[in-house]
Symmetry: C2
Subunit: 526 residues, 2 copies
């Protein structure tokens, strides 16, 4: 595919006239063609107007048609073949294996949402039939279904050029819900975005859908994002990125004449608890596993384990040795962008210079540009509790061992912690009672609790939660990964005494769609 640098506004290709930018290969600093022109007010207006026009027809597409569309997007991404992998590797410096598996995740995510659409439970169809003889008052015929909330603005994430970008989880779940998507590409991988965007655009055409179902805009700086979120036709926002960015968009959304929900997934430090028996039994393995998770993808995961709580005890030396060995053996890798790397280095320097922080281990550097070598720090729980800068996320391959005096101090550190995506526990059977006592606290702090594993690696399935209490997300009741993510973009409507000729198909007597429905409260296929 020849990249053009054009935005995709419905079926059109449009070259933006605002500040142009190019991608950079972070591993070489080389600028990559073509130039991407930024969107201005005309493009935002056009994309949002088309999305609004498309909304009426798209939200009423049949289950099969909508599912087939999601599968067509997946197939057309597969059709991009190695060209997509090469460009994504170039733009992100992520290794080929990672990009290939991310592509597989992205297409299987689209196919999973196709299956969700077909299955139909997301419609939450409910029927309370009329009770005309009921005393003292008859009951009307009441039927409920979920409908799409409206066009959604989706922001591509820097750290997942495929799975959290143009056809990633937010887009897939919004499209599955029946919402058109106006996408703002992440400026670090515009070529990858254009390729995937053209796949979506072609799928829209192939499936005979209205062109406004999908548009893709580019822009550097903050103007474009704010303009999209402020547009009256946008009814919800999906965002993955920094806390500053997420909160700024949330502010714009709340100040609209009609405020809209923003589903922002932001910084997390993902605490890991090493329980005493686990430390004693396998301190070295835990240390190695930790560094494996910390350095995966140069540490650029939302679920990167950024803080490790440990109590004194047998196995501590083995843990430290495991950390030291794995860190020394870690491969330096270029980070996603020069800015990301600069922020990482600044964070590492800040901790290195901190009088209460010890540098436990540093990974080797190869001298390549934009490299973020691993960094492992340690401090005492008292210092950690005392200085909130120590719990600020350092995005990259850094982590901090926090030495707790005892179980009570470990709990105190957790209690003081903000909301997190994940909380991980390493334990043996002998730790079970202590973990059981901590579990309710972990549930209140995190969206996912991991035992004897690592939080990196977010499975896309039915039981996944990628979310958690504020400030890690702006809505703890939702998830941005997994099939439950569709719920963000739906709202219920009740139909009272509608004649059958006006009822939506999902609510007709005889259940022509064959979906699960709740009749008088009981789930079945009636």
């Amino acid at each position: 595919m020849k990249l053009t640098g054009d935005m995709l506004i419905g079926a059109a290709s449009v070259h933006g006239r605002e500040a142009a930018f190019r991608a950079t290969d972070p591993s070489s600093g080389e600028t990559l063609e073509p130039a991407y022109g930024g969107a201005g007010p005309d493009e935002v207006e056009r994309a949002c107007a088309l999305a609004w026009q498309a909304f009426g027809a798209y939200r009423e597409t049949g289950l099969e048609q909508r599912a087939a569309f999601l599968e067509t997007v997946a197939r057309r991404i597969d059709d991009l073949a190695d060209e997509l992998v090469r460009r994504a590797c170039q733009e992100t410096a992520l290794p080929r294996g990672r990009i290939e598996s991310e592509r597989a995740r992205t297409t299987s995510q689209l196919r999973l949402f196709a299956a969700v659409v077909r299955e139909g439970s997301w419609l939450d169809a409910r029927i309370d039939p009329a009770l005309p003889e009921r005393k003292p008052l008859p009951r009307a015929d009441l039927r409920l279904r979920q409908i799409a909330i409206g066009p959604v603005a989706v922001f591509g994430a820097g750290n997942f050029p495929l799975a959290f970008s143009v056809a990633g989880g937010d887009t897939a779940s919004a499209l599955a819900a029946g919402c058109p998507v106006v996408m703002k590409a992440h400026p670090a991988h515009p070529g990858t975005s254009e390729m995937v965007g053209r796949a979506v655009q072609a799928a829209v055409a192939e499936c005979g859908l209205p062109e406004g179902v999908f548009s893709l805009l580019y822009g550097v700086g903050n103007w474009l994002g704010g303009a999209l979120v402020a547009d009256r036709r946008i009814k919800a926002v999906g965002f993955t990125g920094s806390r500053a960015g997420g909160l700024a968009l949330t502010r714009v959304a709340s100040e609209r004449p009609e405020p809209i929900p923003v589903f922002a997934e932001m910084s997390s430090i993902n605490p890991v608890l090493v329980m005493p028996a686990a430390l004693a039994a396998r301190g070295a393995a835990i240390g190695k596993g930790l560094i494996g998770s910390v350095t995966l993808g140069a540490g650029q995961f939302c679920t990167n384990p950024g803080v490790v709580l440990v109590q004194p005890g047998g196995g501590m030396d083995a843990l430290l040795a495991g950390i030291a060995e794995a860190t020394a053996a870690s491969a330096p890798a270029p980070m996603l962008t020069a800015a990301t790397c600069a922020a990482y280095k600044k964070g590492v320097e800040r901790l290195t210079a901190h009088p209460k922080v010890e540098v436990l281990a540093r990974g080797p550097e190869s001298g390549g540009i934009n490299e973020g070598a691993a960094a492992v720090f340690a401090t005492d729980a008292a210092c950690f509790l005392d200085d909130e800068t120590l719990s600020a996320e350092v995005f990259g391959a850094a982590t901090m061992l926090v030495r707790c005096r005892d179980a009570a101090e470990m709990r105190a550190v957790l209690e003081d912690m903000e909301g997190q995506l994940t909380a991980t526990v390493h334990m043996e059977v002998a730790d079970a009672e202590a973990v059981r006592a901590l579990l309710p606290l972990l549930e209140l702090k995190a969206g996912r609790i991991v035992v004897n594993g690592w939080p990196t690696g977010v499975e896309v399935g039915h039981a996944m939660v990628h979310g958690g209490p504020y400030p890690v997300t702006t809505d703890s009741r939702m998830t941005s990964v997994g099939t439950l993510a569709i719920r963000r973009f739906l709202r219920p409507v009740c139909y009272q005494d509608l004649p059958p000729l006006l009822l939506p198909e999902a609510l007709l007597d005889g259940n022509p769609l064959g979906i699960l429905r709740r009749v008088n409260g009981a789930l079945g296929r009636e």
Copy 2:
């Protein structure tokens, strides 16, 4: 029951030391004993601390125990017998029949949520079993359930002293979800609130639950509500009332260090569309039905039909005659409070004096105090569109006929309208195509669509939606009436590779609770 004027803070009775107030019988102006002392910072602190203490145990009560608790609350409200009805009538001037049916609704709502708790679908239990052999990467064992979000602050509504107050829909759904409730009684009916509050308090004790599961505070003015919503231990808010009140609380909630969701249900004018064939077929009956709905409970329903859109055509004279006749026959009734009545009269005067508004009919007055006689106005669609003060809610027995030139102008008025709780259509088969064309717009404007009925009367069931797009609520994805209301107070947690001895019972292999669960995406009782 001897009323004490005490707040109920956990198991304690506490007389507030802040500004005291008494209820008034709106039909006589008579002051009702006892005096209710307002809550200060100590009482807020104590109620929230107790709620937080109770939260851990309460959210993990078994399904049967929690359901039995809700049923105990219902039984203890029934046990209040006629004393409760008498006091509620006195404090609200609502007729006995209305209070009796509201009590029945309140207790059946509690029993319905008990059934919901037992059925267990609200847990949304999901299991994606481990796939250790999967290539290229194994899948971990992932299990999801919904947990209670935390203590909820609930604000009693003035217009429903039972069904939207101390043990009303917000309280019932929050308790069903596993959330302790800190209640702010509506100051217009403190005696009713105390009685019901004591029933809840006694049920907490009878069921052996921690005392902090429920507290009841009083206060006039805005301080108490703001303090409750700002308290760090409160994690969500349920509110029914004015737009100013709901938005003020939303602002407080969004400015907290940890913002929390506010589920506010606010003003609505509930448009009614009279389609041409329906007008021709039964204009008089529609006019009479309209006035019946408008004057029900002195018009003090959130779902009161405040605007009626009609096109010129046969039946118009009959409609006007029906309206005139029913309005003349309407019984004047005292409103809930002197302030409510004063606001109603001011609204009626404003419309009466409006140069573009015609007074179609006025209901008779009996000279009783605080009476809100019915008022029916008319204007042209062009004027209605031109002057937004004409679409401001006049809370009480007022409605406005809006004459639309044609179907296009009727649509234009709807398109210009804000989000609504309900939209009602009167139609005959001959109107079906026109209604079908309007239906998508109605879905985007309202949470409930009613055909050939009236929006007053909100059934508490599985298929009800009492909600709608902003500004009628602050979260269009939710409902404050019906079983779906429980979802407001839940958030999902994912458990990865937890050993069985740490898993919540809902997620254990073998399904000991016997609930519906989603295993690999398929619903069943596995």
